[in-house]
Subunit: 271 residues, 2 copies
């Protein structure tokens, strides 16, 4: 899953050895160039490299209008199926769902329509303790109920408690991507308790007024939001080009929310 696709994304994917062909879903937050201008090039390259597997794209309808125009004028018929899912920017809600995961859009507060995205794994079933299952000679037809947490009652009416037969699965993980936005406390409600929150931090606090005029946030505001939402970890990014050194941004955020890291190009974070 790729979230946003600025100019040069395909080159950076290659540099960091991320295989573009493995991407099956692309989410675009809004139509400022630094968030989508690399998309047409990435799609063209996948096409030229012979991709045939389908690709799902999530973004505002306007995005597809731009792509349609560019595809038409370059006389390109993509070799793969590009399935576009229009996201309504003024309305949060589920945009993707399968057995393992759900993705919701979150309404951002930016100069143009803009959506964030919230990724939540679904709870997995409990894991059977195979030795115990064998020991009690439990028939296969009970497995799925034990995975869901039920106790087992054998033929003699003896109850074996579930925790003797299964262990809890890893907790479902969650990630929220809050693209360009003003500091907006309503977002905290949406991303409450996520394991990892990416929030933009374009400026330091001394430029808070500028942040407000340009519909961006300061590092301190990103941290305030992270604290308020009770997330586990905060990633800040989208720094103004004026900052040659990023330490002041990180320091400012950590004063409010210690578990903060810089979203530096090429770094990997595990959730």
């Amino acid at each position: 899953m790729l979230i946003d696709c600025g100019e040069g994304t395909q080159m950076q994917l290659a540099r960091y050895k991320v295989r573009a062909h493995r991407i099956s879903h692309i989410f675009i937050s809004h139509l400022h160039g630094d968030h989508y201008l690399g998309l047409m090039g990435l799609l063209s390259s996948l096409h030229l490299q012979g991709r045939t597997s389908e690709l799902h794209l999530y973004g505002q309808q306007d995005l597809m209008d731009i792509l349609d125009l560019q595809l038409r004028l370059s006389n390109t018929t993509l070799r793969f199926n590009l399935i576009f899912h229009a996201v309504r920017h003024y309305l949060g809600g589920v945009v993707f769902e399968d057995d393992h995961m759900q993705v919701k859009s979150i309404v951002m507060n930016h100069r143009i329509p803009c959506t964030g995205f919230l990724f939540r794994e679904k709870p997995r079933p409990r894991k059977l303790l195979i030795n115990k299952i064998r020991q009690h000679a439990i028939p296969i037809e009970y497995f799925s109920r034990i995975k869901e947490g039920e106790d087992y009652r054998d033929e003699d009416g003896r109850v074996i408690p579930n925790q003797e037969l299964s262990v809890a699965p890893p907790a479902p993980k969650s990630y929220a991507f809050c693209s360009d936005t003003l500091y907006d406390r309503t977002i905290a409600t949406e991303v409450r308790g996520v394991d990892l929150l990416y929030h933009e931090a374009t400026f330091t606090s001394d430029l808070q007024e500028r942040a407000e005029t340009t519909y961006h946030s300061t590092a301190r505001q990103a941290a305030l939001l992270a604290r308020e939402a009770g997330v586990r970890k905060l990633l800040i990014g989208h720094f103004s080009a004026r900052y040659k050194e990023l330490a002041p941004l990180l320091r400012e955020a950590r004063e409010v929310f210690p578990e903060t890291e810089l979203a530096i190009e090429g770094r990997r974070f595990s959730i």
Copy 2:
């Protein structure tokens, strides 16, 4: 003057220390992504960096339609004046002219409408030999006629031949950029005798059939065109990604036209 602007051009300009603000004219040959997808990003960056001086853009009307849509959807009003000059792809002709230079479009033969560009310096005036001018005490009002090659006749009716008073200027230089195209001999007429010809060479001759299907040229065909047009030097480029080594392309072209070089990213060529 920037000719074509693929994805990542602004990053490459920075890498090779070319100051983007010095660009005053941009020429776009056609609407395949590798020739124009970096344009919107370059314009956005110039805008964000506070450019105010006007910028002239030459390309097909469709190009401006794409930019207009992207500017409108990102709610951007450029701080500088972007002056668009629509190029008719089916018709060669002068697209730019000032006191020093003329630029003509050349009709290419590609899968979609595509134009090349021919840059010709205008002849400069002869250079006055100041010492001789002083020696003969020639009044200033004769300077421009001497620069144009006239002899000087003094008050006594004595004729001083022009070559004693001035020297010939450097020959006007010329460069032709032949973007994506089939091998098409009518192009040779257009670019006859230029100092430097860039011609695409996507494939080696063993793939000539593929070159024809995709409306591209082989290295040999680029060289044939250079020879036929009697140019001084040939630059080949636009190599298919299949060629990890470019030596075979260069070898093939040099067999036909020895004065050939590879257009490698970052190399500079003097005309």
